[in-house]
């Protein structure tokens, strides 16, 4: 194994600087040795050996296999009758479950819970579950599904949000929403109409985005074991929000949370798709309770497509006003979203699309009209960068177009309007720290954007876009102000250093990040830390993996938890060294006086003394986000949904894409991407750059190919990786990642912010702008398919010929 010099921390490019120039080391809060190290992930070796245990790799003694019967006939239909008698009679079948046996509604947002484990009375999308079986093996379970007879009465399938609103008098998807509108909200900050009247440049455009899905490679899998003797339920499941799953399981099964334990094994990707409970989890638990035996339900890939809640397709209208000096004065935003069949994260995503308009540019007047509409399609929910990427596409493409109207470079326009540290947006969102301008500068310089833009030969183009994302949320989804994350640190001679927190690594690397934070906070090495995570019983409370919250949340909690332990060790060392405890520093396994370096003792010795005298040292730390309110600063009015989007801090980035458009085939290829990102301190620079590279290719897919296709009857036409096209190694562009390594948010723990979702934000518009630069056609829709390109080129040619004649 490669070894790392523990003192080598890259702070500035090409130069190892463990100590910053001009800052006395004992005063330098940025003098990190473990944060900022590029170390392999804690679980990398187990994963590469094939030894990491994912949910479907598990078996328990006496385990049964569960399967779910799905409606493959209709996208919208009344269930007249379900007859399970033949299935139950099949040898090897232990239990059958139908929706009426678990009628309690679940959902991630408590006030809009409208899903049941299995459909009751009617199905609302193609592939919805109607019954489940538990059998001795998968073959028997599948055979049993075929024996379940379901009688349907078809209803008209509404497949478009506008059609759904128009035909609400005739077809209603949920009785609770007679207009078929799941949620709507208006957010008005400032006087938009007055501002537009005073603007020199005003542009209005309409945009449409597709329906991509997460595409995690590991299908959902859940293994439940109910113990009838003590009434306790243990669920192992591939999920990214163990707490919200825990809570929903309790609601549906009516077992108190204290008798349910949720353990998350290794997770094979989530991207938001495992960011709420999933019917297989409930079904496995209930079937286990019915049979008294463990039950595992693993999804086929098609079931993942039917049930995972992908990105909301958005129909957006945006109007931007810029004054004669080039400052953005007003934005008017109207968004009609395709909710699909069930509520899911819908209300949250909807208000996010409104709040995301407010950054990363200074806009004094913003108005958003938002609605999220039920249709008979797969439900939309949380997908990487939720609520951000759609309005980002609109704004960045329009600013590119407006820069052209104004005769200036898009770079100049964006630099002029970019937010700066300490900015408070019109909706009261506060940005404590940003290096957004430096992101723009760096990417432009490294890519030679100004030299290339508008000057490349026909068919080749370069496009610039920026973006930002939240670094954690301000509120829980249910009314509660409890801490969002709790960390327990334990130090003694037997176990060394242990960190406990039920945070969930879905591949993004929080297990490694929390170990680095712990090592830094306690003054030991990353390699010393034992990580106990992903379990609601053995680890401490955490809200879950979403909203790019874990780096900030765990970092804050770890710092707080380390304090009492460090204090105790300093007191012990102070007595031995004959100096004041508050003048001691703990770093790299040593405790020493900040003034007299001779006065030093080993950390391990101090721990030994502590363990022998007072016993194991334990520290508890919490993270509670600041409670900012979304109000209109001028009028003081509170605004519905205005609290969504507030975050302790924000990450920023800029991407410049260079594309080639094949005018014969219409195919767009992204050849080169130059990125510059402000994520505060990169905790693990290697993993952080990996997040950015992954983000770029991820959203390149949804910009160019990925879209779930629903037939005229509501049937899902591409529920597999063969017809749903994701980028492969052959589509990968050359990527140049220029993370600002010296960025440091003084308000954030160890200076660190998010990067996992911020880096997907600029991809749509950067590609769209590059395509315009290449062929002179602006697309207002993603994915930009070869068919769209060819049609647009043909129309352009005809138009030009027409003008000539």
């Amino acid at each position: 194994m490669q070894t790392w010099d523990k003192r080598e921390t890259e702070v500035t490019e090409g130069k190892s600087s463990y100590v910053r120039e001009g800052v006395p080391s004992y005063l330098d809060e940025r003098r990190h040795s473990q944060v900022g190290r590029s170390v392999p992930k804690v679980d990398a070796a187990a994963k590469v050996r094939g030894e990491a245990v994912y949910a479907d790799d598990m078996t328990l003694p006496n385990m049964l296999y569960g399967k779910i019967k799905r409606c493959k006939e209709y996208a919208h239909a009344k269930i007249k009758k379900i007859d399970c008698s033949k299935a139950l009679a099949l040898p090897g079948v232990f239990a059958v479950l139908t929706g009426d046996e678990a009628p309690n509604k679940w959902g991630i947002v408590p006030h809009s819970c409208n899903e049941t484990v299995l459909a009751i009375d009617k199905v609302r999308f193609y592939g919805e579950g109607v019954a489940a079986v538990a059998a001795i093996d998968e073959e028997t379970a599948e055979a049993a599904l075929d024996l379940i007879e379901v009688e349907y009465e078809p209803l008209p399938a509404l497949l478009d949000p506008f059609e759904s609103m128009a035909r609400a008098n005739e077809v209603v998807i949920h009785e609770t929403n007679p207009d078929n509108i799941a949620f709507h909200g208006n957010q008005i900050y400032g006087d938009v109409d007055k501002a537009f009247a005073e603007c020199e440049y005003v542009l209005e455009r309409e945009f449409k985005t597709g329906m991509p899905q997460h595409g995690f490679i590991e299908p959902q899998s859940a293994l439940a074991s109910f113990d009838p003797h003590n009434g306790r339920l243990h669920l192992w499941s591939s999920n990214q929000v163990p707490h919200y799953l825990h809570r929903q399981l309790s609601i549906v099964t009516e077992i108190p949370m204290s008798k349910i334990r949720v353990t998350i094994p290794t997770v094979g990707g989530g991207f938001g798709g495992k960011g709420e409970a999933c019917p297989n989890e409930f079904a496995a638990c209930i079937l286990s309770r019915k049979t008294g035996r463990p039950v595992k339900i693993t999804y086929e890939r098609s079931e993942v497509f039917f049930t995972s809640k992908g990105r909301h397709p958005c129909h957006m209208k945006m109007k931007i006003g810029i004054d004669k000096d080039g400052y953005i004065q007003a934005v008017d935003f109207d968004n009609t979203m395709d909710k699909g069949a069930y509520a899911s994260w819908g209300v949250v995503v909807m208000f996010y699309t409104g709040s995301m308009v407010h950054l990363p540019y200074k806009i004094p007047n913003v108005r958003s009209y938002l609605r999220n509409v039920y249709t008979n399609k797969p439900s939309s929910g949380a997908l990487r960068g939720l609520g951000g990427v759609q309005p980002r596409l609109a704004m960045e493409v329009m600013l590119d177009e407006m820069a052209e109207m104004m005769g200036i470079s898009p770079y100049e326009l964006k630099m002029k309007n970019a937010v700066v540290s300490g900015y408070t947006a019109a909706n009261n969102m506060y940005v404590p720290h940003t290096e957004y301008k430096r992101c723009l500068e760096t990417a432009v310089e490294k890519s030679s954007y100004l030299e290339k833009h508008g000057k490349l030969p026909f068919g080749k183009g370069i496009g610039l876009a920026g973006g930002n994302y939240i670094s954690g949320t301000a509120y829980t989804l249910y009314q509660n102000y409890k801490p969002h994350t709790t960390v327990v640190l334990r130090v003694d001679t037997e176990g060394g250093v242990t960190v406990q927190c039920a945070c969930t690594d879905i591949g993004q690397g929080v297990d490694t990040v929390i170990a680095q934070f712990t090592a830094e906070a306690l003054g030991v090495y990353f390699e010393d830390v034992h990580v106990v995570v992903r379990d609601t019983e053995t680890a401490t409370f955490d809200l879950g993996t979403f909203a790019s919250r874990l780096t900030y949340a765990t970092g804050t909690a770890v710092k707080a938890a380390a304090e009492p332990i460090n204090q105790k060790l300093k007191e012990i060392a102070g007595q031995k060294l004959g100096c004041r405890a508050d003048q001691l520093i703990i770093k790299d396994h040593k405790i020493y006086s900040m003034y007299e370096t001779k006065k030093t003792m080993s950390w391990d010795e101090a721990v030994d003394i502590a363990t022998s005298t007072v016993g194991t040292l334990v520290g508890v730390g919490h993270f509670s986000p600041p409670r900012r309110k979304g109000i209109d600063i001028v009028t003081g009015n509170r605004i519905q949904g205005g609290n969504i989007g507030h975050s302790p801090t924000f990450g920023f980035s800029c991407q410049i894409h260079e594309v080639e458009v094949d005018v014969e085939t219409g195919r767009i290829r992204v050849k080169k991407v130059t990125e510059a990102g402000d994520m505060g301190t990169p905790v693990n620079p290697m993993a952080a750059d990996g997040q950015v590279e992954g983000s770029i290719v991820y959203n390149m897919g949804a910009a160019l190919y990925e879209d779930q296709v629903i037939g005229a009857d509501g049937r899902h036409l591409n529920p597999n990786f063969h017809d749903y096209k994701m980028p492969t190694s052959m589509e990968m562009p050359d990527m140049f990642i220029n993370t600002l390594k010296d960025s440091y948010d003084p308000t954030a723990p160890f200076g660190a912010k998010e990067t996992g979702e911020g880096a997907v934000q600029p991809t749509f518009p950067a590609i769209t702008n590059a395509v315009y630069d290449a062929i002179g056609i602006r697309f207002y829709q993603v994915p930009i398919t070869p068919e769209m390109v060819l049609r647009a080129l043909k129309e352009k040619k005809e138009k030009e010929a027409g003008c000539g004649a």
Partner: protein, 161 residues
């Protein structure tokens, strides 16, 4: 209909009773507990289930176990070196940060091994092509490709198979 067969997996011969329609991936995972081989799509689209059969990278979710009699099967578990050390391909994946969620990793590693066994000094394009059937959703492929380049160099230097 069940039948008794023998399969040579990672140098060990297993006697098994299987149905003629059992897939290799299911036999590996469910009958033998070799869960390092992953199943991501069941359709041959993602290649998370890649193993080597007589040296060829093979999608075990599209391969009938019965058709592998008399052939040499190598799974990710078969890459273990004496003393539990990592194979150079595995080591490069770890050190380059080529692993995020890890679900595609065993398949990627096996595709890389099949490439390097035949072509010890592949070009960048050859590496990209060799893993073009393996879907990874986390990394954007860059670090995986770099890892394979590094592994090729290490293996050439050490003459590792």
């Amino acid at each position: 209909m069940k039948q008794q067969i023998s399969l040579d997996i990672n140098g060990r011969v297993y006697d098994l009773v299987i149905s003629h329609r059992d897939l290799l991936v299911d036999v590996l995972r469910k009958k033998l507990g070799l869960t390092g081989t992953k199943k991501g799509c069941g359709n041959g689209d993602c290649a998370a289930c890649t193993v080597q059969v007589d040296g060829e990278p093979t999608l075990s979710c599209l391969t009938l176990a019965i058709s592998c009699q008399g052939k040499k099967i190598i799974t990710v578990e078969g890459l273990a070196q004496p003393g539990g050390a990592l194979h150079p391909i595995q080591e490069a994946f770890v050190n380059q940060g080529a692993i995020q969620c890890g679900y595609c990793t065993p398949g990627m590693v096996m595709s890389a091994k099949a490439l390097l066994d035949k072509n010890p000094k592949p070009t960048l394009e050859e590496i990209k092509l060799a893993i073009s059937g393996n879907l990874c959703r986390c990394t954007g492929y860059k670090r995986i490709i770099e890892a394979i380049e590094i592994a090729a160099a290490t293996m050439s230097a050490q003459e590792v198979k």
